[in-house]
């Protein structure tokens, strides 16, 4: 079954200097439980594509044409209110730089608790606390009781990214968007986080759109791969097929 379908999506930025089309006529589908890797160089529009699906683009960017379907329902014209609901329950995102993505002035536990409370409004304090601990353990942080009270400055990049993932999981999302989640981490951490994401996919059965510019990361993560260049999605297919093709072309 397709969880997400994007048809002929174009996104433009309207600046004083004129219109810039960042995403051109992109179509793809995301199947339930699969990891779709969107790969391309910096500035090819993959991140804009991702943010336009969850509607987190700045005011100057507009979806020009195309439709987005989530679980068969069109969400292209959803209002901000409706999108908020979707973001809190079905869509989650992991960002490139965990140190700036976490609020520096709020304890990590409070930030996770906020996400849990948005999903389950009437939750009791006790249940909330145990859910936060559960999430921290789920993403592999040891000593969660102690960790929950700390601030992002006390965390290394890898640990901070685990917290961001915990926040993302608080919503029990159908789709997890991962926007270059390992780019800002060092190699060892990178491998750990990728492993964690794969493991979580197995455990929770969510689908994932994984954005990266790094082919090695793509090989490790992908069920299917979409290649982007200059705002266009020019190739999509099974991972093995595409990587074989690329290797073939390079030789």
């Amino acid at each position: 079954m397709d969880v997400l379908t994007v048809k002929n999506l174009s996104v433009s930025f309207y600046r004083e200097s004129g219109e810039i089309t960042a995403v051109k006529n992109v179509s793809f589908t995301l199947r339930a439980g699969e990891i779709l890797v969107i790969m391309g160089d910096t500035g090819c529009g993959k991140s804009v594509l991702c943010k336009s699906i969850v509607k987190l683009l700045p005011d100057i960017a507009k979806i020009k044409t195309g439709q987005i379907y989530f679980q068969g329902k069109e969400i292209t014209g959803y209002t901000e209110k409706e999108m908020q609901k979707l973001r809190g329950t079905s869509f989650s995102m992991v960002f490139q730089n965990p140190m700036t993505a976490l609020n520096p002035c709020m304890s990590v536990g409070a930030q996770i608790a906020e996400a849990v409370r948005l999903r389950q409004p009437g939750i009791s304090r006790k249940a909330l606390r145990s859910r936060v601990m559960e999430l921290l353990k789920l993403v592999g942080l040891d000593r969660p009781e102690e960790r929950a009270g700390q601030y992002p400055v006390h965390f290394s990049g890898g640990m901070a990214q685990r917290c961001v993932i915990a926040i993302a999981l608080a919503a029990n999302p159908e789709i997890l968007f991962a926007d270059e989640p390992t780019t800002s981490l060092d190699a060892g951490m990178q491998a750990q986080i990728l492993g964690l994401l794969l493991e979580l996919r197995e455990k929770l059965g969510m689908s994932m759109i994984f954005i990266t510019h790094n082919p090695e990361v793509a090989v490790r993560m992908a069920d299917r791969v979409a290649l982007m260049r200059g705002g266009e999605l020019y190739r999509i297919g099974d991972a093995e097929e595409i990587f074989e093709e690329t290797i073939h072309n390079n030789h």
Partner: protein
């Protein structure tokens, strides 16, 4: 990470040292400036006094000794709580100040509280409506008010509300014999208070607005919105919270400026407060009065700066890893 109590001891000794240096500077400056304090004491009668009489008067007021000796004398008294007498009012300077400080605290204190609340609300409102019509209108009005010198605003308000409309009194803190009448005092307070508030409000509101706008551009806003929070909720729960440490430290620095900066307003409205005292004593060499007033206002400034630093280090988790930030700004990593 430094231990908090060490920071406190550190800051307190720095505070004492600053105050001491301030007293030396003010003492020396006031005595080096030309002008004869005898005029302050005797008024025009000085001109009729002979040289010998003047010398005797100087001797009595302790003004004949070299400046360092005078300073030590003053310091000895000050450490025992004796700050000398005011030349003009001929009584203990503490009494002169005690008579007036209530008025200034009322004007400056109330002004500060109003500015504190309104600046935050206006800043929030403008940040929320960034670049929309409402924001532009408020910014426009605010910029205009911030450009009006306090004394001229006072004059115009007197012209309109006292001279033309006759609604409000133009000077003093109360009408004769109505010292204890709150309504009368209130009506005397409205115009000076309006000037104090309008004179400072936009400066701080605009800083709050820009600080919040900086926050709205941070990455954590995206994560917070991804949780399902609305833009407004993110502004209140996240951006405001992060801007709060710098707002509080900013207002700690603002406190002495607002409280101690009322002298122009007090002068125009002939409002009997510390500001007018400071002005008189600086101009007419009322040394002892000048010293105490300067130490109070200057001490408040130093205290405000100290408070700002402590706020930065203590309540902002971003700062907790760094030792003592110098400036009043909070920086992100």
């Amino acid at each position: 990470m430094r231990k908090p109590y060490i920071t406190i001891i550190d800051e307190l000794s720095k505070f004492a040292l600053s105050l001491f240096l301030l007293s030396v500077l003010v003492f020396t400056m006031s005595r080096l400036a030309p002008g004869d304090p005898l005029y302050s004491y005797y008024g025009d009668r000085v001109e009729k006094m002979g040289t010998q009489e003047q010398e005797a008067a100087r001797e009595r007021l302790g003004l004949h000794a070299p400046i360092p000796v005078q300073y030590v004398q003053w310091m000895k008294g000050a450490l025992h709580g004796d700050f000398g007498i005011s030349y003009k009012y001929k009584t203990d300077v503490k009494e002169v100040i005690a008579d007036r400080i209530g008025n200034t605290l009322l004007l400056g204190g109330l002004g500060f509280v109003i500015i504190f609340v309104l600046a935050l609300l206006l800043g929030l409102f403008c940040a929320w409506r960034e670049d929309k019509a409402a924001d532009r209108v408020v910014c426009g009005i605010g910029t205009v008010t911030s450009c009006i010198p306090e004394f001229w605003l006072s004059l115009v308000l007197i012209l309109v509300f006292a001279v033309w409309l006759g609604w409000l009194p133009s000077s003093g803190a109360y009408s004769v014999g109505m010292e204890r009448n709150p309504a009368d005092r209130g009506s005397h307070l409205i115009l000076p208070l309006a000037v104090v508030v309008l004179g400072h409000l936009w400066y701080y509101a605009y800083l709050v607005r820009n600080r919040l706008l900086e926050e709205t551009r941070a990455d954590y806003v995206l994560l917070a919105r991804m949780k399902g929070l609305s833009g407004k909720q993110v502004l209140y729960r996240h951006c405001l919270r992060n801007a709060m440490p710098s707002y509080l430290s900013m207002m700690a620095i603002a406190l002495p400026h607002i409280l101690g900066g009322t002298y122009v307003v007090e002068t125009v409205f002939s409002y009997p407060g510390i500001g007018t005292l400071a002005y008189e004593s600086a101009r007419y060499q009322d040394y002892n009065l000048l010293m105490l007033v300067s130490l109070m206002t200057g001490g408040l400034v130093i205290f405000g700066n100290m408070l700002a630093r402590i706020i930065n280090v203590w309540i902002d988790p971003r700062m907790s890893l760094k030792s003592g930030g110098m400036s009043g700004e909070v920086r992100e990593f």
